[in-house]
């Protein structure tokens, strides 16, 4: 298991700000191999978002370990985490966090440039991602000119711009209509096929259906962790029954 992209050991998060401490994540052990697509599911309040935020260093763990690409990460300072994210982690949130005074194109190119890609490579990657998400004609717009669904797709393109070791996503299709969801599904399927590791919190069964492994949380603990088998029946009759 030395080549795991991401690993946690007995990871715990307790929010102790309020009157009663909240045990959001209670001892999660997770090993993520390169190229895996994991859907993290579970009811609201089960600790899904807290878990992926900790995996990206956006929320400090209370105890336990986080390893990224074989190196200990939970002990890093905030600035060291920022550096690690720039190089290895793409993040898509429920809200988008785009840079308001930059164009869509620049928002998407920025992470690749920060990670050390040449301007030409960054531009090509941006053109490919915006094309795949049907956003080519919005490249010169500013985020404020975009609809919620468009901003969400730009955020996904940005997260994938530097081909991160792992893509972390928290409900990335929450704001999308069914056509836009289809574009996002297609892109996720494509980058996954190309070897992109993905860990995605989602309630959307269509998105979860793309994953090859499901991790289910309940009250801060993993209650299921296993592969989603493909039946590959190929015929519609096995899935749809019109009476």
């Amino acid at each position: 298991m030395t080549n795991a992209v991401l690993k946690t050991v007995n990871l715990v998060k307790v929010y102790s700000g309020g009157a009663v401490p909240v045990h959001a994540v209670r001892g999660v052990d997770l090993v993520v191999e390169p190229g895996e697509f994991i859907a993290v599911m579970g009811p609201s309040g089960s600790g899904k978002s807290t878990l992926v935020h900790m995996l990206g260093g956006l929320d400090a763990r209370t105890s336990g370990e986080i390893w990224v690409d074989g190196a200990r990460a939970d002990t890093l300072s905030e600035s060291a985490w920022a550096l690690l994210r720039r190089k290895k982690i793409g993040f898509v949130f429920q809200f988008f966090n785009l840079v308001a005074n930059m164009t869509v194109a620049d928002n998407v190119e920025l992470p690749a440039l920060l990670a050390g890609a040449s301007p030409r490579i960054a531009r090509e990657r941006r053109e490919h991602l915006l094309g795949a998400l049907n956003l080519t004609d919005r490249a010169d717009a500013s985020p404020a000119q975009l609809s919620g669904g468009e901003q969400q797709r730009v955020a996904l393109a940005r997260a994938l711009a530097n081909k991160p070791s792992v893509l972390l996503a928290d409900e990335p299709t929450g704001n999308l209509d069914s056509r836009n969801t289809r574009d996002v599904l297609r892109l996720l399927g494509q980058v996954h096929k190309e070897g992109q590791t993905i860990i995605m919190v989602t309630h959307d069964a269509r998105v979860a259906g793309l994953a090859d492994r499901v991790v289910c949380l309940l009250d801060g603990e993993i209650v299921d962790d296993g592969r989603i088998t493909r039946r590959r029946t190929g015929t519609a009759g096995a899935v749809i029954d019109l009476r």
């Binding site: 259906g209 994953a211 029946t233 519609a236």
Partner: protein
């Protein structure tokens, strides 16, 4: 299938194989291809009930074929079907029975049942994703059919989550 065939015959008389082709063309790639034998059996029953009338048509070099016509009685039955509201899906879920009765059987616990069922639903969703991917976006009927199946599956998964919160 009885009423689907009556609906097709309301447009024009047809023989069995033409009805099979019409079903395939109307519903597109997402519809399970109807069995020709089943179509002939259904037509036979409709004829016996007086809802369609079969007319033998002579063919050179081949056995006669039967062309089916909608009768007045058939049209009445069809009109009734179209005019009635359609029942919604009912919750009579085999899985839910297993889940509720599981503690009595001692064979599997509820958590294990729910987890296995979730993986099964997600696997079906994977199939639907693949099916949608293979479907031309302008094939509206097939696309809507697949999207309908996906929405039902989403509801099943949401319900499963509720079961896990409250029962497991």
């Amino acid at each position: 299938m009885r009423l689907h065939l009556l609906a097709l015959l309301a447009k024009e008389p047809a023989h069995g194989y033409e009805l099979k082709q019409a079903l395939e063309q109307t519903f597109g790639g997402a519809y399970p291809s109807p069995n020709i034998g089943q179509i002939y059996v259904t037509l036979g029953r409709l004829e016996k009930d007086g809802l369609v009338r079969a007319v033998d048509v002579e063919q050179s070099n081949r056995p006669n074929k039967k062309v089916y016509y909608l009768t007045a009685k058939g049209r009445d039955v069809l009109t009734l079907w179209v005019d009635e509201p359609t029942e919604g899906p009912r919750v009579r879920d085999e899985f839910f029975m297993k889940l509720v009765l599981a503690p009595l059987t001692g064979i599997a616990d509820r958590m294990a049942l729910i987890n296995r069922q979730r993986r099964h639903y997600l696997s079906i969703m994977g199939d639907l994703n693949a099916l949608l991917d293979r479907t031309e976006p302008d094939d509206r009927v097939a696309t809507l059919l697949i999207e309908g199946a996906m929405l039902h599956l989403q509801a099943d998964l949401d319900w499963l989550e509720r079961c896990q919160e409250d029962l497991a």
